[in-house]
């Protein structure tokens, strides 16, 4: 027995030695020394792009390197995912420049998990021209911009024009009320056999879309910010939204047979013509076109019907952030890249035309409307610069573009956003998969759970 204990002790010492060595290795890591010569930065490129899109990106990289001879750009495939981002952040495997959603900006800044590039951003000529509501997502408490807004979206109702026509609906006159959405969904399901209205339910997207529907019906999921944030999940608008889903699913049978969609799989099925309508970011078109090969002529999008007092459309977007591990020289190069690749095409005619020309030549979508990150005038000016290269069917976007500037945009819940959405996923799933789901009981449980999340945050 003593011998066994001794062996165990030796083994433990061995383990501790190895652990100690590793810990020592980890803790001895010093910040990278300031490079004196050329600097190399690693920048994110969307995963799963078609060869033409990759070629267009690489051409932009070459242009940038020509303009900045001291900066070398390496690319790394990266698409933000809620389930892998934290591990990539902790593991230090993110590129130097990477996109993050608005929902993560404030928390990452507070925890100093991304680089403070506010001084560098402040030197950019348009630093004070961002739409204040949008810039807020990437600002610290003092207003310094740590993460640069590069795109914004308002939620939209995407629809398949071909299925509309097959169902005897007018694709140029899409639903303007939720009752019309329900009626159109039933017509599509009856006439085409495809899902009239589909709903995301997985990987936090069920909560995201339920929050969107709640906003559109005048409700809120969370009221207040910071320590005063209060869960208001069991509000009338959310109940109304869930009751509508319940009726469409179990009375009308107009929601198809798949109820475990996330953003990626619902886009796939929509592009494949299996879905008549679904709610998602209004700027989904590039993904549908470049990653899911959707026929542009089949695509249509409109604004969400807003009903009730204080109704609005949920807005979000993407920020460009810089790794906290980047040295000062790399941070400076990273901000130059953000300016060149993401922003200049919105503010500078020459850059806008150059980017549009490459995109059009490589058969990438040009001119797909999106919510402006500056103001409406800047947005319209940029659209006019690139009008010769526009290759998306703008008329299919008209139901959206004619109304989107008139709709109030409401930001996502400010605290524990993804956790709140995750807590709502099972609620949506229950309503869509259980005929006897008790909406009030589900929301009461979610209310308790989300309040707990807010209290802990």
């Amino acid at each position: 027995m003593k011998s066994a204990q001794k062996r165990a002790a030796i083994a433990l010492v061995g383990v501790l030695s190895v652990a100690g060595t590793l810990t020592a290795c980890g803790s001895s890591e010093e910040p990278a020394a300031e490079p004196t010569g050329p600097v190399t930065i690693e920048v994110a490129i969307d995963a799963g792009l078609e060869p033409e899109a990759i070629a267009a990106f690489e051409e932009r990289v070459l242009q940038f390197e020509k303009m900045n001879p001291d900066i070398q750009v390496a690319t790394k495939e990266f698409t933000w995912s809620g389930t892998t981002f934290a591990a990539e952040l902790a593991g230090g495997t993110l590129p130097d420049v990477f996109p993050i959603p608005f929902t993560d900006g404030r928390a990452l800044i507070e925890r100093e998990q991304i680089a403070d590039i506010s001084d560098l951003v402040a030197e950019l000529p348009y630093a004070d021209q961002f739409n204040p509501t949008i810039a807020e997502a990437g600002q610290d408490a003092d207003g310094g911009i740590w993460a640069v807004p590069i795109s914004a979206y308002n939620q939209g109702l995407h629809y398949n024009r071909t299925l509309f026509e097959e169902a005897g609906l007018d694709p140029d006159n899409p639903p303007a009320t939720w009752d019309e959405v329900r009626a159109a969904a039933q017509a599509i399901a009856d006439e085409t056999g495809q899902a009239g209205y589909a709903h995301m339910t997985q990987s936090n997207t069920g909560g995201w879309i339920l929050t969107t529907e709640t906003y559109a019906l005048g409700g809120r999921i969370v009221e207040g910010e910071g320590e005063e944030a209060t869960a208001t999940v069991d509000n009338d608008a959310t109940v109304q939204a869930l009751e509508m889903l319940q009726e469409m699913r179990w009375e009308d049978d107009s929601m198809g047979a798949s109820f475990l969609y996330d953003w990626s799989t619902i886009n796939q099925d929509f592009a494949a013509g299996k879905i008549g309508m679904y709610v998602s970011g209004g700027a989904n078109y590039p993904n549908l076109f470049t990653q899911n090969q959707m026929n542009p002529d089949e695509y249509g999008v409109t604004v969400l019907p807003l009903e009730g007092d204080d109704a609005g459309t949920l807005g979000g977007g993407t920020l460009a952030a810089v790794s906290s591990a980047a040295s000062e020289a790399e941070q400076a190069a990273a901000v130059k890249w953000i300016d060149f690749y993401y922003i200049s095409k919105l503010t500078d005619q020459e850059a806008a035309v150059a980017e549009a020309e490459i995109a059009a030549r490589t058969d990438q979508p040009v001119g797909a409307p999106a919510l402006p990150i500056f103001d409406q005038a800047t947005y319209e000016q940029q659209q006019s610069w690139i009008k010769d290269f526009v290759n998306v069917p703008l008329e299919n976007f008209q139901p959206m573009t004619e109304q989107m500037f008139d709709q109030p945009v409401i930001p996502e819940p400010a605290v524990a956003t993804q956790d709140v959405y995750a807590a709502l996923d099972p609620v949506v799933q229950a309503v869509l998969t259980d005929k006897d789901a008790d909406i009030d009981a589900l929301l009461a449980d979610a209310q308790t759970q989300i309040q707990g999340l807010l209290d802990r945050s």
Binding site: K2, S3, G14, V15, L16, V18, A19, L22, W80, S81, G82, T83, T84, F85, A86, A87, L89, A90, P101, T103, D104, A107, L108, R111, E112, Q113, T201, Q202, S203, G256, A257, S258, F259, L260, D262, S324, A416, Q418, D419, A422, D425, P426, Q429, A430, L432, T433, D434, A437, D445, Q449
Partner: protein
């Protein structure tokens, strides 16, 4: 039994003479003695293995122990929180659901997945021709990468009436069934795929064990008038009991850690119907893009490991009398 063993004993060669007594070593050896006895070469040979195990197994376990009493996002400095993470996990209303689901999966896998490979192995061992082909066919699902297998079965489980399984069910006037899209049928659907994917490996183990069963025992049973079922019950199963006990505990441990199927098929849905303990651990750690609750994740991991360790110890103690 004795009718067989007696003549064997009569013809068996004489047993080898007993080996000479080993020289007595004192309990405490000097370093010189240790070196002279080949201790250094033993250590050198063992070193790579110790290093690999240390880095990839023991160090993460050690880190998990530490993290379970910390609040950390792995970037900023961690804070010591005592047993708060364990309390948080035990108070989480989803824990009960996850444990129940895991037990349900384990039970279904045990009822359907455990006897199936044994039955297949026994049948295959009786086949005189093309046994190799049957073995290869049984093992084929194990060769298919798990993610590919799940994607394939996801295709089979398509809930529309044009899905593969629903089309087959439609031929006999059944369905369409929602399979993964319904809280009641989701878990059995996962078990079906998991059984298909894992049975081949167990079949091969049983087939190998069956080769070791002495044919004289079957001959003796036949002489005693035993039919097929009595031979299986009185000869095959008792001879395989050691292997059966091992595969049973391995299956219990495996099913308690089920993750791949619920993660890839359903993400734990619908309405948490396939949320397992490992899925909950994953959700704690990676459910939020802002760092997750690594402390709770490691706390629940340690609790699961503890439960499985106790279960294994009890199991081996209880089954020891029957294992040999």
């Amino acid at each position: 039994m004795t009718t067989i063993s007696s003549p064997l004993r009569a013809t068996a060669p004489a047993p080898p003479p007993p080996s000479p007594p080993r020289p007595h070593h004192s309990r405490r050896r000097t370093p010189r003695q240790w070196l002279r006895d080949g201790g250094l070469s033993t250590l050198i040979i063992a070193c790579p293995m110790i290093l690999v195990f240390g880095v990839f197994s023991w160090f993460p376990i050690g880190r998990a122990l530490v993290m379970s009493v910390q609040e950390t996002n792995l970037v900023t400095a961690p804070a010591f929180v005592g047993l708060d993470n364990f309390v948080f996990v035990l108070q989480d209303p989803l824990l009960g659901k996850a444990v129940t689901n895991t037990l349900w999966f384990a039970l279904l896998a045990l009822v359907f997945g455990y006897p199936l490979p044994l039955a297949a192995a026994v049948l295959m061992s009786e086949v005189r021709r093309m046994r190799g082909l049957f073995s290869a066919l049984a093992y084929l699902p194990v060769v298919v990468p798990p993610v590919v297998a799940v994607l394939l079965w996801k295709f089979f489980y398509d809930p529309s009436d044009t899905g593969v399984f629903n089309t087959i069910a439609g031929w006999v006037g059944l369905g369409p069934y929602p399979w993964l899209q319904d809280a009641t049928s989701a878990m059995p659907s996962l078990v079906l795929e998991a059984t298909w994917a894992a049975a081949g490996g167990t079949v091969i183990i049983y087939l190998a064990a069956l080769v070791g069963v002495r044919t004289e025992l079957y001959e003796a049973a036949e002489v005693d008038g035993a039919g097929v079922w009595r031979k299986i019950w009185h000869v095959t199963l008792p001879q395989l009991r050691g292997v059966l006990f091992i595969t049973l505990i391995l299956q219990v441990i495996g099913t308690a850690q089920v993750f791949l199927e619920p993660f890839l098929f359903t993400g734990g849905g619908p309405n948490n119907a396939t949320l397992t303990v490992l899925m909950l651990i994953y959700d704690y750690a990676f459910g939020s893009s802002l760092g997750g609750n690594y402390g709770a994740a490691t706390a629940l991991s340690l609790m699961l490991a503890g439960v499985l360790a106790v279960l294994s110890a009890v199991y081996f103690r209880v089954t020891r009398p029957w294992s040999s």
